[in-house]
Symmetry: C2
Subunit: 421 residues, 2 copies
């Protein structure tokens, strides 16, 4: 069984300055080709620590992928350490040098001399092309153990993983990958873990030796199916069987798969049905339209939105009646509905969606506490608003409101009852 | 010198399903009280791996903080492993049991029997109260080595760190913490690393033995000052001296400190000056108003915004002239300026801000390639638009446009030249 290690180098990780997104990206890519990651380690910019880790890698891991410490400055220790560990030397790579010079030229910037060092590569290693930056990657291979070093900038490391590292590892280990671990995640939102669990019933009759994990977050509960098979087909078949059984039980709550975003699901539904939409946001302050427009091609269905943060703007721009706000308040069923109806009219769209609520931490009262949110919906035949009471955290309240608005929209388009459970 | 380890437990980390935000949060908290983290490790839900790590912790680390694997299901191995490792046994904690029952009662849900196990705690350990969830934390202390186990849910772990773990560790090690590592980060945006470096000049005369790291990201370049001192005062003094020298050289590019967001800086400036603002967004699709409203109290200055994603909505809602769009296109200096001028009028605010551009990946032409963004600004005396050419990545283009719009606004309010460098 192959074993991989992901090693992140940099003081900024140990002091918690940055979140290690590289490690999760790399692990995910490796497992997808049947090379499971056994261990993720982060160390600082310290030579002795890195040498220890390299020793451990050669001893116990088939593949080690390192990120960080490849820059041109004094605190970048990865290249010197690799040279030392593999008793290697640096040689100039003219292609890399031309690339580095080109990057500075295109930015119309004089290249600092230190950047020439970026083109110095280890003589015994394969150089990995970095299309997006100045630091090339390094691929050492000794006795079938592979040690790969990539830059720490996520943008650069991701491209190099996808374009070179993953395809090459797949080729290299094609015969050794004798079993496959596969995962699939089904995404739900707006419904609690306990309810899902209850509806699913006896889990063992469904997973039959595989694994099912419930992963709750502010975006909803994800259900991850983990299976092991002798090959991809077998694993896929197992996943398919489990998925079918789960969908029989809780299908209407599943809005998507894996890393799909609900804004993507809903966008596809709107496009399929030829529907247009506009959004009036108060407590979410633009988050819903931001999510919609994050998807390329969203101009097919999203005509636009208004963030009416003040009462005046709700009245003057959207046309909510002053009376409504005076009588029921800005955070009310009536205002939410009027916002949805009005924004639909303003943008001449098929559907209007709205949010108004008290995101917190201030602004709550006994009657209308922090976390109280109304979500409004309007189309050409109906309009309604639904009430939610989330928690005390402003950011979480805003995210939950946005996601819930999209889920209400999804159910409405799919003609699934919008009862809260 | 104290040494800490952060240990994350869970298959979901090794397969890259989740990003390990707990580790960075915990590391950051520990370093802030003078307990530097030497190593961050992630392992799967496997007993042998965890026992090895516990062995290593007792041998080499003063403090180990673990997260994950404390739930009530079969794949949660942390508690049984700790019991085994410390030759301990579980006893019922009535206070925790009442709390767990209360959580289910408040949700009006019948408590599954497995949750009784959440109230079973190790007899030789201190139980750490978890106000936000059902799994209490565990604090073992043997021969001055401390091993702490917290739940994996970030929300729960963060509260327990802040309310119990950090204050207790501070007390416990008050005499041993004989030096302090402190960091301060100065935040810039809209200016490249090379330009900053050039303006700063000879770095050694500034940092005098301390460290200065340049950390570029899509949000801008952060400069992190790392110093070591015999006590907090000495460390603060060193940071102060370096900061003063840096601010002399590049002060006008520094918009904030540490984890401050530019939307917060700009919001404070607007409030101080008594200015109101509204935003008209095309390519950023609501991201700027979303950022503004992410800050509690932003209703003091943000009156609202429109996301005019379609040309029709730019004309009908915002009042951009059809002629302007026909003659110059939606992505043009003229349209950007008209959007800013119009949104300012629509919301009756002191300032209007706008974005229009081609975020990509589609929609680019030879004349107007993907990454071309115009940012418009209008107040009662002037209006202008600035052109940017970012990259090919939609998400990065949207974020960079939003941040750049906020930076243009910051400089305008602070009367700093808005030349692009």
């Amino acid at each position: 069984m192959l074993k991989a290690k992901v090693l992140s180098i940099g003081d900024e990780i140990l002091i918690g300055q940055i979140v290690n997104t590289n490690a999760s990206f790399i692990s995910n890519k490796l497992i997808s080709i049947g090379i499971p990651v056994d261990r993720i380690v982060s160390i600082g910019d310290a030579e002795d620590k890195l040498l220890d880790e390299l020793e451990d890698s050669i001893k116990s891991f088939d593949v080690t992928i390192m990120t960080g410490g490849l820059g041109p400055t004094h605190d970048d220790i990865t290249k010197p350490c690799l040279i030392k560990f593999f008793a290697d030397k640096l040689v100039i790579d003219e292609k890399v040098l031309a690339h580095v010079k080109g990057i500075f030229a295109s930015r119309k910037v004089k290249m600092p001399d230190t950047n020439v060092e970026q083109a110095m590569v280890p003589s015994k290693a394969i150089t990995i092309w970095n299309p997006n930056g100045t630091a090339p990657g390094i691929w050492y291979e000794i006795d079938n153990k592979i040690i790969i070093s990539l830059p720490g900038v996520p943008f650069e490391a991701i491209a190099m993983m996808e374009e070179f590292v993953i395809p090459e590892l797949k080729k290299k280990f094609s015969e050794k990958i004798n079993y496959v671990l596969k995962s699939k995640t089904l995404l739900t939102t707006g419904i609690g873990e306990s309810f899902l669990s209850e509806m699913i019933g006896d889990i063992n009759t469904i997973i039959m030796g595989s694994k099912l994990a419930f992963l709750p977050s502010v975006y909803g509960v994800r259900l991850r199916i983990d299976v092991k098979g002798n090959n991809v087909n077998e694993a896929d078949k197992k996943i398919g069987e489990i998925e079918t059984k789960l969908r029989e039980k809780i299908g209407k709550y599943i809005f998507g798969e894996n890393d799909e975003l609900i804004e993507k699901t809903v966008g596809n539904l709107l496009r399929e049905k030829g529907l247009t939409i506009s959004v009036a946001e108060s407590c979410t302050g633009g988050m819903i339209s931001e999510k919609f427009t994050d998807i390329s091609g969203s101009s097919d269905y999203l005509m636009g939105g208004v963030c009416t943060y003040s009462n005046d703007s709700k009245i003057n721009i959207l046309g909510v009646k002053k009376d409504t706000i005076d009588s029921y308040g800005a955070v009310s069923q009536q205002t939410a509905i009027e916002m949805a109806v009005s924004v639909r009219k303003l943008f001449s769209t098929d559907i209007g969606l709205s949010t108004t609520g008290i995101a917190g931490p201030t602004g709550g009262t006994d009657d209308k506490p922090v976390g109280l949110i109304w979500i409004g919906y309007a189309d050409n035949t109906s309009s309604f608003a639904m009430k939610f009471l989330f928690g005390n955290n402003r950011e979480r309240n805003r995210v939950r409101s946005s996601i819930m608005a999209l889920e209400i929209l999804r159910k409405k388009i799919m003609k699934i009852d919008n009862n809260i459970e």
